[in-house]
């Protein structure tokens, strides 16, 4: 499970954000709700270890990852955290399956095409495996992005506004997919969103009532 306590982040301009405590069990999902500009992406980047908090702790199954070195964090993130970004981006020169295998390589794991294909089958886009990512539709891209987040069987899946660009039907499908696969692989699913369509479905919700404090620059 993931637990974040009294996280704070200070921007270079001196604006400091403090976040409420967050905790999400393995196999469950949790919505992090907040309006645009409330620092949702910053929180997600801190949870992913891309940004370091100025205060507070993040524990993965008891380990405090804030204390990790950059190299340790890189390796840990590659293996244990799957991220679905707001807009699905890929390495454009590669095909769908090559993008999935790239995630395996970069995490330092052995390349397993069979596993990648299974995952694509599970997400109903196996027929696009050898297609260039540039040729995918928006919905297909979102599925491939999910597949990439899941390929290394992470213990935490972070999704940044995964449904904001999708219509109702697709949004529901994507949410179902995310919930199903995270449950299957016993991962914690954290969805950062301001999409009200999701609030009716996911029970576990944390509202980011963030207090932005402008501190004096020393």
């Amino acid at each position: 499970m993931i637990e974040a306590r009294s996280l704070e982040y200070t921007y270079s301009g001196g604006v400091r954000l403090s976040y409420p405590d967050i905790s999400c069990q393995r196999g469950t999902s949790c919505l992090l709700l907040g309006a645009s500009g409330s620092g949702k992406t910053t929180l997600l980047h801190m949870l992913a270890g891309i940004l370091s908090p100025s205060k507070g702790s993040i524990h993965f199954d008891g380990k405090d990852v804030v204390q990790f070195s950059k190299t340790e964090m890189n390796s840990f993130r590659g293996k244990e955290i799957g991220i679905v970004f707001q807009r699905p981006h890929f390495v454009h020169a590669l095909t769908v399956i090559e993008n999935l295998c790239l995630a395996q390589r970069l995490a330092g794991l052995p390349v397993d095409k069979g596993q990648a294909l299974n995952l694509l089958t599970r997400l109903n886009i196996a027929e696009k495996a050898s297609v260039s990512v540039k040729a995918l539709s928006q919905g297909e891209k979102q599925r491939v992005a999910i597949a990439r987040a899941l390929i290394n069987s992470p213990s935490l899946i972070l999704a940044d506004e995964p449904t904001s660009a999708l219509d109702d039907a697709n949004a529901k499908e994507v949410l179902t997919l995310l919930e199903d696969v995270s449950k299957e692989s016993n991962a914690s699913l954290l969805i950062v969103t301001h999409d009200n369509r999701l609030t009716d479905v996911v029970k576990n919700q944390i509202t980011l009532d963030i207090q932005a404090v402008k501190t004096e620059r020393s």
């Binding site: 980047h45 390796s75 890929f90 390495v91 020169a93 790239l102 970069l106």
Partner: protein, 461 residues
């Protein structure tokens, strides 16, 4: 094992796919690199081989003596066989240099140029030319006067002439139709030389008199007639002597006259060196000094030019002058090639920087998936090196391909063979230089890529 696998993946397959995903960019960079590299390599190839050809044909020749005109033309004509003669010189004028008693001259090889067979020059000369070019016989023997010829290895290869083959020569130095000496005697191949890599490979050699015979067949017919006259005259003398009543005197005179006519006279014509014949011409002399340090030998050329109707030229000096003149053009071309290489480095730099704008997000993405800064840095660097390497490859293909076309043209024109697919060690040095240029062009983009803030990049819409 896994690390090695990943290394090969990122530095070959991945880089390859990325470069080919922007084919127009790649093409521009390749064309620029290939042009620069190709031009430099072509200059190297031509320069090296022309210099070699020039030097292979020095053959220890200290002086070329011929008719007044352009000294360079005379050297090119008589040593390299690529220009027409400046004119002819008379045997009377050439005689002092051909005399074996001349204290300054070790070897003087006469050349009579003006005919060809299928574009291969027929050179009337003497047997010393074989030693001069250090040639050896592959088949057959030296000519023994008459119309016998010895041919070089390339001549044999290209004309298909074999031992015992007969052919008629053509007037002029190129293979023009309708210029055959139809009424002259056939030349007969009696010897074929081994390959020497010098100009003798592409010549047809015969005795000086054989060339004279072809050109002056009217004149030699006249000589025959004269000889006949002389014989008749002798007969007359004999008859007249028969009328003489002084037996002893008659006897002695008869014996002497008979000896002179029947044996000595004809033998004397054959034994008389060709240069002792008056009223004949040769094209030039290739001279080796007896002693190169002899002061008088060193001044011989100037003396000839100042005091005689002949012209003497130092081949090393003329060739050096020619290379100097060509060198200015070569230097210009080299500078242009360097500029092209510099522009291609700039082009690689700009296209990498440009590609980063598009790829910023995917590189940040890769880092979010566990790629280190070092890997991202290496990826961009290797792209620069890869473009340079490909450009180098295409450039060498262009230059050597161009050289093979060029070599065919030169061969058709001058009969000199150039090797298009010979590689020089300078080209290997160029490989390192080119890769270095590619890497240098990639350093700044690579630093930009590896130090960009992934959080900021990933937050951008």
């Amino acid at each position: 094992m896994k690390g090695l696998n990943n290394f090969f993946y990122f530095f070959f397959s991945f880089t390859w796919k990325n470069l080919f995903s922007r084919p127009l960019n790649l093409l521009l960079n390749l064309v620029l690199f290939a042009l620069g590299v190709g031009l430099i390599s072509l200059l190297l190839l031509i320069n090296t081989q022309v210099t070699e050809k020039m030097e292979n044909n020095f053959a220890g020749i200290d002086l070329v003596i011929g008719a007044k005109g352009s000294p360079l033309q005379m050297v090119l004509c008589n040593m390299y066989h690529i220009d027409p003669p400046t004119g002819n010189i008379s045997t009377e004028n050439a005689r002092p240099f051909l005399n074996p008693d001349n204290p300054l001259i070790g070897k003087a090889v006469p050349l009579s140029i003006g005919d060809n067979y299928k574009g291969f020059r027929i050179v009337g000369t003497n047997d010393e030319i074989i030693d001069l070019y250090e040639a050896e016989f592959d088949m057959g023997t030296m000519w023994n006067g008459g119309t016998e010829v010895v041919i070089g290895s390339r001549t044999a290869e290209d004309t298909g002439l074999k031992l015992g083959d007969r052919f008629k020569s053509s007037h002029g130095l190129s293979n023009d139709i309708g210029m055959e000496h139809d009424d002259a005697a056939d030349f007969v191949v009696v010897g074929i030389l081994k390959k020497t890599n010098s100009v003798i490979d592409q010549l047809i050699l015969c005795d000086t008199r054989a060339v004279w015979a072809v050109h002056d067949h009217d004149h030699s017919a006249e000589e025959d007639h004269k000889g006949h006259d002389h014989d008749e005259h002798d007969h007359e003398g004999h008859d007249h002597e028969g009328h003489d009543h002084e037996g002893h005197n008659h006897e002695g005179h008869d014996h002497e006259g008979h000896d002179h006519e029947g044996h000595d006279h004809t033998k004397k014509i054959a034994e008389k060196p060709f240069w002792e014949e008056d009223g004949q011409e040769i094209t030039a002399l290739l001279v080796q000094f007896r002693n190169r340090k002899n002061f008088r030998a060193l001044n011989l050329g100037r003396n000839i030019n100042e005091n005689t109707d002949l012209m003497a030229a130092n081949p090393a000096y003329e060739v050096l002058k020619l290379q100097g003149n060509i060198g200015i053009g070569v230097d210009m071309m080299r500078i242009i090639a360097m500029i092209i290489v510099f522009v291609s480095a700039l082009s690689v730099f700009f296209s990498l920087v440009n590609s980063l704008k598009e790829r910023k997000y995917e590189l940040a993405l890769m880092r979010s998936m566990g790629a280190s800064r070092l890997l991202v840095f290496g990826l961009i660097m290797i792209e620069g090196a890869f473009i340079a390497l490909l450009g180098y490859g295409v450039g060498l293909l262009l230059s050597h391909g161009g050289m093979s076309v060029f070599a065919d043209m030169l061969e058709a024109e001058y009969r000199y063979g150039f090797e298009a697919w010979r590689f020089l060690k300078e080209e290997a040095y160029m490989l390192f230089a080119v890769i270095l240029i590619g890497l240098v062009a990639a350093v700044v983009p690579a630093i930009m890529a590896s130090t960009s803030d992934i959080s900021t990049t990933l937050s951008e819409e």
